[in-house]
Structures are given as structure tokens and as C-alpha cells.
Symmetry: C4
Subunit: 195 residues, 4 copies
């Protein structure tokens, strides 16, 4: 009775993700003076925007692949999804904080922490998904492989939190590494599906 | 001629709710200084954001269950839905006010008042729905049970308004109690529907 | 080849309208001090928000009825629709200006002007629609009746522009009258369609 | 397994584009004083908003036509689309910067640069599309013709960047010319498709 369909869950999540990715640009305040120096000051905010756009875009693609495999929207899945959207909704906040304080360990650590929590939500969602499908072993193997990758990137994000207090560059390296890691295999994987 | 479908009503409502839940994060202004003290000041704004995210998410789930049971989008239903969206659209405003003035009875009372009005809109929507379906007694019993729960939480929210002037903690207790009340049974209910 | 469907046009328009109606609340800045006097100052901004919410909601309902009758998305219809969305997208701006300067003729006139332009766009859209359907005379009569009502409310909005310089109250009376005029007959009309 | 459908890609892109086009209005800050002089100061911001609304609306129409011709959402197409959305998401930023500094070469050049990058993304998307469809020669001819037009307008936008340092009026002429160029043929083209 009134069970939610996956398409409805997907449409709502897409709406929230589309807004998250777009409102971040509101924090890119145009400098009042048209000098290179003024624009230069916006550069870190711009770079953190670009990074977060990429991170959220990857999450959107992963979210789509994940939800597409769901057969039944149970309450646990629904609330785990809202748990994910909550941490994703904080991305504009930690991005803005990072853009304004990119040399401060705390801002770098907070950014890493929010992405760790997003990763944890993805991990949780896939556990629920894997419990639903215990039949199709090919599919399970595929999800288990993604889950390992998810656990690995979540662990790296978690590592970036204390690391920021030793060297912010190490944390930035992690922030750059994970999108690269997701971006390329996804590419290969999807290419493998074309034919 | 040009009657609205429930899916259209749902899509528009979902769009508005997705925006409401996401723009609240714009009020979480990143502190300019990266100190723990500066972050600490944002904590009440963050907590009120978290509470409102949960409240709006629960409303979204309830709204879905409600609209899913609708057979015909009459003008009364359409305008009652817009009445609900109006009060929901004020959640970011009262959340921001609460986050900035969390120790002030007025801010707490205003937050409770807006949620009372949202509850009243849900109550109204379900009355209209119950009038549409007078055949299926099993369904009616189900809706009547939700309606009682709705009336109870609406009354508690209403109580939180004057209570804030006696003790803001009593009002906060109500704000925490109602999501818990909705969250757990929904969980059980949906679990019962899985198979 | 790649003709747009009405459902796509509707979905995009709905998205824009949902955002328009929701971002207006961002202009309701929560007062920093929790005093009745501070809240009272927000009252005109709140009232202009409420009025615009109602006006945009009515436009949304009318837009739905209009687009639902469209059989073919021609380029003229597409661009007329974007012309409507442009003037609608300015509603948050004129609403904010009105809320901050509700006693000033210019702010009242500007609000009336934007609504006049929105009305002109609806008029244009329905002309294009009527040209498409010259067969079904019953439908044409129905649209011609709505078109007259549209012309009447457009003329009233146009009148509110110079009138604001004589008496802002006369303009406010028009702003209150038109939603009432649309709201009630729509109600009756839809009620007539229920069975 | 979990390939994305074109309708999903389109819905997400539409969501992002609808938000882009609408949040720009948030940068139209209502002047606090209701004088003609104060409104006049907002005029350049308003004009740059109007221009960007038109540019983004044209991109939306073109994007629809492009995606509609896609048969398979490959990873390359998906990421090229996100590349387009990234540069489109910066339109509100460059629009605001232009509105505040419309007499400054740098602001004009930056606006032209972002539109150049958007054009490059459209060019890339169509290359991927053309590689997918090598059968239907009529369709290919149609796309090749649009692609030439796209290359031409992209080259003009690129030209507007250095030109702004010679004469901002020359760049503004390009900004006005390209929408006109897209607007009219699109009109003719679509009209030719009606029957």
C-alpha cells in the first residue's frame, strides 16, 4: 500500500543532487572590482567548487547505478538514502568553508569528514542492496567489487581528516586521487557495456 | 478537460520539497575564520538544519504515501496541497531564525507554529482524501489511524508554541519526540509491507 | 526530428516555477534579534511573499491547464513559453523590492508591471493554442472564455501601474482582487469536472 | 547493467539548467531605496540577466535536440554532458560579474570565455553523437550543418575574449549576434518540421 517506486526515489534524489551541484555556484561571489588580483582571490573558491562539482557528479553517477539495481524500496533503503542526501547537502557548506580557508587544516579536515560520511552512506546503501539480492551471483560479484572500492575510498577520506593537521597537501592529494580512481574505471566499465 | 494527474501534482510537490530541503544549507554560512570557536557558533544553526532536514524528509515520505492514495486531483485537494507547500516553504525561514536565536522563546515558538500549520495542512489533505474513498473500509481504517497520529503530533506542535515561553527545553523535547514517533512506526509499517 | 513533447516542456516549466516559488523565501531574512518589533519589520516582506506565492501558484495551475491542451510544441509556442518564464522569473525580484518598499509607488508599480507582462505572455500562449485548434468548437469556446478573463486581469494589472502613483491602496486592491477572481471560478470549474 | 537512459540524463540536465536559469535572479538584488536612480543602477545587472536567460534558454533547446538524437548513453557522452553542465553552471557567476562591471574588459572577456567553453562542450557532445550514428546519412547531414553553426558561434565567442580589450562594444555585438543567429533559424527549422 503506497510503497515507493525506485523511479520516485531516483527523481527526488536527482532533484536534490541537481540543486546541491548548482547552488554551490552561489558561493562564487563575483568580486566587485574587475582586477586580476580580485579574481585571483576567488581562485581557491573556484577550485574547491570545481572539485566538489566533480565529486558530486561522480556520486550522482554511482547513485544512479546503485538505485538502478534496487528492486524494492524498503524503509531501510529509503532512510539510508536520506542519510546520504543529508551528508551530500552539506557539500556546499564544506566547499565554501574550504574555499575561504584552503590553507587551514580544519577546513581541509572538515571537507574530508563530510566526504567520509557520504562514503559511509554509500557503503550502507550497498549493504542493504546486497542483502536484497542474494540470488544472482554475477551481480553480487559486481557489487562486491564496487563495495571494496567504496570502502577503500571511504578509508582514504577518513585518513584525510587527521592528515590535514600534518600536511594539507597530503589531504588534497587524496581529494584529487579519489575522483581520478572513480572516473577512469567507470569509464572502462561503461565502455565495456557499450556493445 | 485538463484535469491534473496525481503524478504531476507529485512531481511539482517533490520539486518544491527538494528545493526546500536543499536551500536551507545556504543559511549555514561558513565562518570566515577557521577556528573551533567560530565553528562552534555555527553549531546551533547546524543542529536546527539537521532537525529541519529530518522533519521535511518525514513530511516528504508522508506526502508520498498520502498522494499515492489519491484517485482524483480535485480543486480542493490541489489548493490544500499548495496550502501545505506554503507552510513547508517557510521551514527554511523559521529554521534560520531558530538557529540564530535558539535560546529565545519567540524563535522556538515560531518554529513550533510553522510545524503546527504544516500538520494542519496534512490533516486537511487527509480529510479530503477520506471523503473521496468511502468504500474500501480496510484502507479507511489505515488512513484513520494515520490521521489520529497526525492530529496528535499537530496538537503537540501547537502545545510547543506557548510552552516555549515557559521552557524552551520542553518545546525542544517535542521537536525531537515527533520525528522519533514518525520515524519508528513508519519503519515497522513499511517493513510489514515488504513481503 | 527531435520535436519537443508537451511533457518535456511541462517538466522544464514546472522545474522553473517550483524554483521561483521556493527561492522567494530566501529573501525572508530572519531578523537577528528575536523581538516582536524585529519580526514586525519582516511582516511586509512576509505578506508580499504570501501574495506572490499565491499568484505564482495560480499561474502554475493555469499553465498546466494551458499546456495540457497543446497538441504540438511549435517553435512559437516554445519561445512564448520561455517569454512567460522570463517574466515569472522576475517575480522574486519585484516581490523583494515591494516587501522592502511597500509604501513607495514605484515598488508597487513595478510589481504590477511584471504581473502585466506575465499576463501578456499567457495571452500570447493562448492565442497560439487557439490557432492550433480551430476544429473543436466546444473547446474553443472554453478557451475563449478563459482568454477574456485573462485579458481582463491583464488590463487590471496594467491599470495598477499608473494607479500606484495616485494611491498604492488601489493597486493593492487589484493585487488582492485578481487572485480571488481566479481562485474561485477555477474552483467551481474544476468541481464541475469531478464527475 | 545499470546503463543510464537518455530520459534520465535529460531529466537531470533539465533540473540543473532550470536551476541555473532561475538562481541568476537572486543576483538581481532589489535596491533598498525606491528611486529611479537606484533602479537605474540595477539596469546593467538586469540586462546581463536577460542576455544570460536567453543564452541559457537557447542552450536548453539545443541540448534537448541533441540528447533526443542520442541512442546510447556511453560514459564519454555522460562525462561530456557533465563537462557542459559545469561551464553552464558558471553562467550565473560570469553574468553577475558582467552586470557589476559591464564597462570593464575583463568582465566582458570572462563572460565570453565561459560561453566559448560551453560551445566547446556542445561541439564535443555532437562529435560523440556523430560517431554513434554513421548510418543514417540524412540525419548526419542535419547534424553536420548544426555542428558548423556551433563551431562558428564558438569561434565568435572565442574572438570576443581578446576583442573585449580593444572594444567592449564589439564583444557585446557578438553576444547579441549569436542568440539572434540561433533564434531565427531554429524558428524556421522547427516550423519546417511541424507538418
Amino acid at each position: 500500500m503506497a510503497e515507493m517506486t525506485t523511479s520516485r526515489l531516483e527523481a527526488f534524489s536527482d532533484g536534490v543532487i541537481a540543486i546541491i551541484v548548482t547552488i554551490m555556484v552561489l558561493e562564487l561571489r563575483a568580486p566587485a572590482q574587475p582586477t586580476l588580483a580580485a579574481l585571483w582571490k576567488v581562485a581557491p573558491v573556484f577550485l574547491s567548487y570545481g572539485l566538489s562539482f566533480l565529486v558530486v557528479a561522480i556520486m550522482w553517477v554511482n547513485h544512479h547505478h546503485l538505485i538502478h539495481a534496487v528492486r524494492e524500496v524498503t524503509a531501510r533503503l529509503l532512510w539510508s538514502n536520506l542519510y546520504l542526501l543529508f551528508w551530500m547537502s552539506l557539500v556546499p557548506f564544506v566547499t565554501d568553508f574550504l574555499g575561504k580557508n584552503y590553507r587551514e587544516p580544519m577546513a581541509v579536515a572538515l571537507y574530508g569528514l563530510d566526504l567520509t560520511l557520504c562514503s559511509s552512506a554509500f557503503y550502507l546503501l550497498r549493504i542493504i542492496l546486497l542483502e536484497q539480492d542474494h540470488h544472482d551471483s554475477g551481480l553480487s560479484e559486481y557489487h562486491a567489487s564496487i563495495q571494496r572500492k567504496n570502502a577503500f575510498s571511504g578509508a582514504l577520506y577518513l585518513l584525510s581528516v587527521p592528515l590535514a593537521y600534518l600536511s594539507i597537501y597530503a589531504s588534497f592529494f587524496i581529494f584529487a586521487l579519489i575522483p581520478a580512481m572513480y572516473f577512469f574505471p567507470e569509464n572502462k566499465l561503461a565502455a565495456g557495456h557499450v556493445n
